[in-house]
């Protein structure tokens, strides 16, 4: 069985972002970029499934401008067998990404697709669900545990939901999106980084895949959130209780 994993290049999670003065977006020039943490977890899970002998190949897929290849190479260094780069400039919203994914699935025919539950840049949490909808495949979102049963062609997924942990059982082929606690991703070792340079990467354009990327969404502006008034330090519990009672009126 082949597993396809989506990996996205985003601003590193530790970076303090800045909104551009012209409100057109967030500053990305000279800013550290990394693989989206949820995508790292997705790739790690795919690699573990392969290492357990339940999958034959892990294909990492990225979509975006030229520089996205860096993230793909990181994925190959972690252990993906092959890479696919759908090269597209301009904003790619989740619906377009999902349609591109569907086109790739028709070519590659994987038995399982794993994506991060959300990208930490736009925080959409949509793409996995949309891929599943377009393909008519069952979905196991916000996964904190994945157990594949090759014989029954099923996968049991524990999902982190508002009320606790929900367990669902999905027929393969299926789409899974990963939550934080699913696993701890491995680091790419130096020998693997070297090996990654010669792993095959196939490039596509949206035109070649017959997908129109013009969106029904337009970003009007990007702004900073309202700033909170500066706080004060109190020096004792007594002072804290006094302020909460008599100044803030919350107790």
């Amino acid at each position: 069985m082949k597993i396809m994993v989506a990996v996205k290049r985003v601003i590193d999670y530790a970076v303090k972002i800045r909104v551009k003065a012209d409100k057109s977006g967030v500053e990305t020039q000279n800013v550290k970029m990394s693989m989206n943490p949820f995508c790292e977890i997705a790739l790690e899970e795919a690699l573990r499934i392969k290492e357990a002998g339940l999958a034959s190949e892990v294909v990492a897929v990225t979509m975006g401008p030229k520089q996205s290849i860096d993230t793909l190479r990181t994925g190959l260094a972690m252990g993906a067998d092959r890479g696919i780069h759908v090269e597209a400039t301009g904003d790619l919203f989740p619906l377009a990404v999902a349609k591109l994914f569907k086109a790739l699935v028709e070519i590659e025919k994987p038995g399982l697709i794993i994506l991060g539950k959300q990208a930490i840049d736009n925080d959409c949490n949509q793409t996995g669900q949309m891929v599943a909808g377009l393909l008519g495949w069952p979905q196991g979102t916000f996964a904190s545990k994945v157990v594949l049963d090759k014989e029954k062609q099923e996968v049991m997924v524990d999902r982190e939901v508002d009320g606790g942990l929900e367990t669902v059982c999905l027929n393969l082929p299926a789409v899974i999106t990963t939550d934080l606690r699913l696993n701890q991703p491995r680091y790419a070792t130096l020998p693997n980084i070297m090996k990654a340079k010669s792993k095959p990467v196939k490039k596509y354009t949206p035109e070649e895949l017959n997908v129109a990327t013009k969106s029904d969404l337009e970003v009007v502006e990007v702004t900073e959130p309202p700033k909170r008034k500066a706080g004060v330090l109190v020096s004792s519990v007594d002072e804290l209780i006094d302020k909460l009672k008599n100044e803030a009126h919350v107790i």
């Binding site: 069952p138 969404l217 803030a248």
Partner: protein, 346 residues
């Protein structure tokens, strides 16, 4: 095979709003609703409240799915719980007992194809997040998720980069416009309404590719984290699940919900549904108290809209103090017992 049953309730024919359309065509909204124990859940009312901002003369229908008498009771409750609701649509089938995304998304698609709403709204809780995008894909439209502000029928504001930036987005596609809203941005009111019940089409091509197995959750008497007025959160500095009980005691004293950081959940002190943060729960209580919480970007994303934030941490350089209204540099193991002693009785 699914069974569809209409509700036996009197039909009220007088429409709640004028039938003359306003602005660019008439607005009509389908709210994807949730119910439990025979009543509509609070988040659904947030979605109904949010629908008001889409435009004048917006007629709101609430879609409820499930089975049995609790569904019937919930539909009757939906009829009378908010002035904006003019219709309740009921889908009665075993498929919906556990609220799986596959039958739900298909149901939304079928209802939309039959009724042609201009907007479909849900709340961005784990149910809404799971279902809405899948439904959007079936309807071939881009959804706008986690909306915090609505300025008309097709312009919305949503947080990005863990809430460190706000993106104003315009929807330029055809009907329907699908959106999910943050319940903390649209608090629900309580009033009465008119009502008309309709039965929903159930897909005969039953989607059986997924099945529900079980839900593991903790019994608690604490108020729900999502809409509590006071939240007490503990971080990894609590050091153990046993110590975390101090947080619970303080929460009990304040009538508060208990929250936790990712680190505390990862360390096994508390279950995952207490996690507050960018990828956990978003809360906006009147009072948020954070003990032993460093204030990482991802945690702050989940609580920055709290009215009053209090932080207690041994480290005076902890980033949490930048967002706190009142900060106390101190040892939580001393501060919490002192608070328990000195706080006024509720």
């Amino acid at each position: 095979m699914a069974i569809v049953r209409a509700l036996r309730v009197p039909l009220r024919l007088r429409p709640r709003f004028s039938s003359l359309s306003s602005i660019a065509g008439s607005i009509s909204t389908l709210v994807i609703g949730e119910h439990e124990g025979g009543a509509v859940k609070a988040p659904t009312l947030s979605a109904v409240e949010a629908a008001k901002y889409l435009g004048e003369g917006n007629s709101v229908s609430v879609l409820l799915a499930g089975t049995g008498s609790s569904l019937q009771d919930a539909a009757e409750h939906a009829a009378s719980c908010h002035p904006s609701i003019s219709q309740v649509i009921v889908a009665d089938s075993d498929h919906f007992v556990h609220h799986l995304a596959e039958p739900w998304a298909r149901l939304v698609q079928l209802v939309q194809q039959r009724e042609g709403y201009s907007h479909i709204v849900t709340v961005s809780n784990s149910f809404g997040k799971n279902v809405l995008p899948r439904a959007a894909a079936l309807l071939d439209v881009s959804p706008i998720t986690d909306v915090v502000s609505i300025s008309g029928p097709n312009q919305f504001v949503r947080p990005i980069y863990a809430g460190n930036a706000l993106s104003t987005v315009r929807y330029t596609g055809n009907s329907p416009c699908l959106l999910s809203v943050r319940s903390t941005s649209f608090p629900e009111p309580t009033v009465a309404a008119d009502f008309r019940a309709e039965k929903a089409p159930i897909s005969q091509d039953s989607i059986r590719k997924s099945r529900y197995v079980k839900l593991t959750s903790q019994e608690t008497e604490r108020p729900d984290l999502g809409n509590a007025k006071v939240v007490v959160t503990g971080g990894r500095a609590l050091k153990s699940a046993e110590n975390f009980k101090m947080i619970e005691k303080l929460a009990e004293k304040l009538g508060a919900a208990v929250g936790a950081t990712r680190a505390a959940v990862d360390a096994g002190f508390v279950p995952n549904d207490l996690q507050v943060g960018q990828t956990g729960k978003i809360v906006a209580p009147e009072l948020y108290l954070a003990f032993g919480v460093s204030g990482a970007i991802q945690h702050v994303a989940g609580m920055r809209d709290s009215k009053v934030i209090v932080a207690v941490n041994k480290d005076s350089d902890a980033p949490i103090f930048k967002v706190a209204d009142y900060g106390l540099v101190g040892d939580l193991f001393e501060v919490i017992p002192e608070l328990l002693e000195k706080l006024p009785e509720k």
